[in-house]
């Protein structure tokens, strides 16, 4: 199976776009007056969180479609989305910690968003462990789909439960909570940088999912070949 030309093009586009977004963060967006340079973590922090959430939504939707249609491809989409989501939410948590250390004076607080993001991470690690424990590929796909749906449903409920307590996490887009620590008003340049970051990370996401699905298909081919050799 040769690498499709479209994927090659997308790879190059992704690399250029990532470089461009990084350049915008460093040279275009102004330095925030109070927080200083550490605020620049914000652009990729939000973008990574966005891609993470998008991935898990993808996984849940792929799960539903798989249960209805029983096509193998949707299982591959599900795994691809979950694996990528785990990485991006991890990036999101780590960049958040880097920012929180100087601004909140701590690496970690038990704030609803932080806690929910970590619980979400654990849900999807459990998803991978579930898949690892099942040998029959058809059953593995079914159970994966079911758990992706249940997990995705539970995450917002967890967030809502913890949210009832007061949060200190800043809400920069739409809405301002006066008690939040480290909030700021975005200048147009900052907003543009953030939007570019989100778009670029979304392109990166599409590129990675494509690669991961292709990898899954190749792995299936290898498995089939091995099976045929044994006969």
């Amino acid at each position: 199976m040769k690498k499709p030309v479209a994927l090659k093009v997308l790879d190059i586009v992704t690399i250029i776009a990532l470089l461009g977004a990084t350049a915008m963060v460093f040279f275009y967006a102004p330095i925030e007056r109070v927080m200083g340079a550490v605020q620049k973590v914000f652009y990729f922090h939000v973008a990574a969180g966005w891609v993470g959430m998008l991935s898990f939504l993808f996984a849940a939707v792929a799960g539903i479609i798989f249960l209805v249609k029983k096509k193998k491809i949707w299982d591959l989409v599900g795994v691809a989305a979950v694996e990528i989501g785990i990485i991006f939410i991890f990036i999101n948590i780590v960049t958040g910690s880097i920012w929180a250390r100087p601004i909140w004076n701590t690496w970690w607080t038990w704030d609803p968003r932080l806690t929910t993001a970590t619980i979400m991470e654990l849900v999807y690690i459990a998803y991978l462990m579930l898949r690892q424990g099942i040998d029959d590929p058809e059953r593995r796909a079914r159970f994966g789909a079911v758990y992706a749906i249940v997990g995705f449903l539970s995450v917002p409920l967890t967030f809502f439960s913890i949210r009832i307590f007061r949060t200190i996490h800043p809400v920069v887009i739409a809405g301002s909570d006066p008690t939040a620590v480290g909030t700021f008003d975005m200048t147009p340049a900052m907003f543009q940088t953030l939007m570019v970051g989100i778009v670029v990370f979304s392109i990166l996401f599409v590129d990675l999912v494509w690669h991961r699905i292709r990898l899954g298909q190749l792995a299936n081919q290898v498995e089939e070949m091995k099976f045929n050799l044994q006969d």
Partner: protein, 234 residues
Amino acid sequence: MQPGSIRLNTKTSFTKAMFAVVWKDLIAEVRGKELISAMLVFALLVIFIFNFALELDPKTRSALTAGILWVTITFAGTLGLNRSMAVEKDRGCLDGLLLAPVDRTAIYFGKSLANWIFMVIVALIVLPIYSILYNTNIISPALLLVIVLGSEGYVAIGTLLASMAVQARTRDILLPILLFPVILPVLIAAVKASAGILNGFPLEDLQTWFNLLIVYDIIFTSVAFMVFDSVVEE
């Protein structure tokens, strides 16, 4: 009906099938006494471990009681859920159940209901023992209501995940890992409501948590109901 023909009743009613599963589980438990006794002994051990680990004394414990209670119920619950599905799987009972010409969700609701009854029974025994051990009375109708509501959400999703976990190679370790992150919203609401009751807050203040518990119960039960078919189909 023609004389001599056999009346084939291929469709047993949903509730009848469900209660047949519940009844089977209860009879098996009365005769074997495996599940509740194991859950109970385990629950007591957890309380004793907490006693030594946290050095519970009258001053600190009032704030901790709700948490300890729910950790105990949650841990004992996983034990029960695992066992309840493992016995079905081991001797091919699950296949027998699935072959029966009834709606498969009736089997799910039957198993959930049985697990729910077991959890509530364990809680009903643990509460007085806890009261005696710490010389306070923690039993109240409101707390019982929280336990009933909380364990409903717990077994709704727990029964579904347990029936997946027993079919995996790593089944003994898998259930808690699958269940705990997903069940968190129910647990948060249950602990908050229990803590409020134990601290003697008026029930109106706890309305939010009760509402949340009911909402979570409904959501989890209906999702499990919708996807259970794909967990057991072969």
